[in-house]
Amino acid sequence: MAKNPKRVSLRDRYEIAVDEPLNKYDNPPAMAFKVRHLRDASRELMALVCDPKLPIRLDLVDPLSQIDSPYLMSLKDWGVVDWPPEGRRCPVLIYEPPAGARVAASLEDDFEPMREEEIIKFFAEPAYQVLREFQEFDIAHRAIRPNNLFFGGAKGSRLILGDCISSPPAMAQSFVYEPIEACLANPAGRGMGSSPDDMYELGVTILALLIGHSPCRGMSDEDILNAKLSMGSYGALTQSSRISLTMMEALRGLLTDDPDERWTVEDVGMWSNGRRGSPVQQSMQSRAARSYSFMHKEHFTCRELAHTMVSNWNKSINIIRDGSVDTWLRRALGDDTVVNAFNEAKDIPEADADDDNLIGRCCIALDPSAPIRLREFSATVEGFPNMMALHAESGEMRNAFAAILQYGLIDFWEENQPRPRLDLMTLYRDLKRAREVMTRTASGEGIERVIYDLNPTLACQSSLVEAYYVLDINSILPALDWLAANQDDVRYLVDRHLAAFIAAHFSGLRGSELRDLDNQADPNLPTLASIRLLSLIQERETRVKPYTNLGQLAAKMLAPTIKRYHNRETRERISGAMREAGATGRLSELLSIADNNQVLDDDTRRFEMASNEYHDIARRLDQLDSDKQNRMSIARELGGQVSSVMSGVLTTVSLLVIVLFTFLTAS
């Protein structure tokens, strides 16, 4: 990465000017910068540099690039670039910037109110056209608010919806612009949402444009939520505003709290085209005849009570166990569905009768459309993936997620929905599978695997490659090559996150590679397994690309494996060969040298022979030592033998001489 360049190139097509920020187009946390198209300098473009820590909505890139509307900020391209101010790689979105400024610089400021006709003509009608296309693609914008609206066209003749990809859905959305269900969830767990959520945001934005500021300004989030819960959204948001009948019709339709009764895109279209009907009556939850008092607060609806129970988690177990809620539900509310659901919530086996489980189930029974909540964890089912992606490092959230899966709260939530959520069937299946995967502790499994299985477009969170923003399997080796070039103290190449990312994205695994990553018996095996894993990724391409920095790092990391060989010559030979293979950048070549079983077996066999010889010599030396001690007795023994032999030889010679002499003299 070059140090502080003024221009950053994206795919040799765009040049982002690091020193030319376009603050008026910022969509926090994404920051806007001027972009020059390298082949067509006349094109006005800007780049939104996204926060790399937050998952961006990449699944929307494809449908958005197909929507060609003058009322939506046009997404031209996207990519990941080396971003010098951050000293890392960041995702960037290339947009065609709107001609005018924002409608509202911020949600806290006043802005010029618009007349009803202007709102219908310049906002409602264009929004209808854009959101109809969103509905066709079955996606939701989830970022409709005055400070994400821009004046466009000649003299600001139309309003343009701003970016909706640069941060997780509705995460950057202010509390007041979100329906009650989303307000009850953690910002990260609001979920992808659907058209009714956009309709709600549209309604709040219309109201804001009408009154010249955000509704409920100056109120805290908790106050806004309490007002919405007690009065309903329409009542809470339009408290002190004078609304005409025309606008009331739209606002009542758009701000109704029951998503099934909320206006659809078509209703907005018809309204903006001048068709008038009677205003939708605001649907409120069943109110009890008398209140239920808990935590110094009077509750008339189940939803309010559930919210207070979640806010006072530890104390709420008492009112569940003492039966007072049951009595209130039966006598004051008289809603058999809720009574039955509450009884079912309490009817759990003794083994699972944990307080958290009981409270979580009771909250679902009291407010089935609310997110699933367990202590600090609060997310809609579709918000679970994002929630885990963003809070994976929080032990509390991980435990809560595990507990929700273990208690089967998702199944209970599903049972309590008034209508089956067919759109969530795939997610239900994935979450059920996640329950099993969570219990496995091996590399490539566990919570990390669940995160990547549930978030296919999430960048790898591994501390090794996090700065490189790895989105797919093809980016892993370049990322590690970059790591090898930029960091000196790399101790391992695959950690739990990277293993899980590979397991989730790479189908060519044999399984043994991941198993060996956890091998504690042989300290060399995890290193070999990680390089084998990366080698598989490298070799899967038809044209294998070499990664020399990674190869050299791998050779360095494999250096201790040389100790598996005993023979010094073999060590030197293999060490040299490993260095050479590492320099080629082909991990398979490196492995064929470092992990050659034939050479290893041969070395082991020869080492055993050498060891036996060493010990044989040691035994001989011991014997020699002992012989030295007994040298004189050995000398005597041996001397006796030698002297008897010498005597025998001498005698034989003498006998021959005597016999010959005797016979010769006799003859």
């Binding site: 100790k563 005993h566 023979n567 010094r568 010559e569 080492f607 055993e608 050498a610 060891s611 036996n612 010889e613 060493y614 010990h615 010599i617 040691a618 001989r620 030396l621 020699l624 012989d627 030295k628 040298r631 004189m632 050995i634 000398a635 005597r636 041996l638 001397g639 006796g640 033998q641 030698v642 002297s643 008897s644 010498m646 005597s647 025998g648 001498l650 005698t651 003498s654 006998l655 005597i658 016999v659 005797t662 006799a666």
Partner: protein, 185 residues
């Protein structure tokens, strides 16, 4: 090891057999050639003394060393006895045994045996000292060579253990640690 008792049993059986044979042959020889037997008894007195009084070794090296040469010394006179007279010629026997020179010859031969017996062990001891030194040097050199080729782990291969750092062939390992490590293995 299993064969040892068997061999012992065979030896135990063989010894009485040989002794019995000797008891049969000796009287026969004495009857057939009494003068020769008497000459040998007198001439080989040093051997008989060594056998009966001095030699405690089971393989009787002293007796053999003295006896072989002593017999060579006696043989000349035995042949003379056989050549000049018969097996029953006691006159010639008396001549020989009463001649100091003949006795000197016979006993000197035995003395040569004793000299050999006394001189050989120191010579052998010196030889052994030199050989031991040479062997030790050779063995240690080979061990050093093995450590240089295979590392210090070659010392502990049979214990099934490996030292983490066995690169320095000169380094001596703490025997206590090695024993502990081997025990842990």
């Amino acid at each position: 090891m299993a064969k040892k008792p068997k061999a012992g049993a065979a030896g135990a059986k063989g010894k009485p057999k040989g002794a019995a044979l000797a008891w049969v042959i000796a009287p026969a020889v004495f009857v057939l050639a009494p003068s020769t037997v008497i000459l040998l008894i007198i001439g080989m007195a040093p051997t008989i003394v060594a056998l009966l009084l001095l030699d405690r070794h089971p393989l009787k090296y002293t007796t053999r060393t003295v006896g072989y040469l002593n017999f060579a010394g006696c043989l000349m006179y035995t042949l003379d006895l056989w050549k000049n007279s018969g097996f029953w010629d006691f006159d010639r026997l008396i001549e020989i045994v009463s001649d100091p020179f003949s006795l000197l010859v016979m006993y000197s031969a035995a003395a040569v045996g004793w000299i050999i017996l006394f001189l050989t062990p120191p010579v052998v001891a010196s030889y052994l000292t030199v050989t031991f030194e040479m062997k030790e040097t050779r063995y240690k050199a080979r061990q050093k060579e093995l450590v240089e080729i295979w590392g210090r782990n070659v010392r502990y291969g049979d214990m099934g253990m490996d030292l983490d750092d066995d690169t320095d062939p000169e380094k001596e390992d703490d025997p206590e640690k090695v024993t502990q490590a081997a025990g842990a293995e």
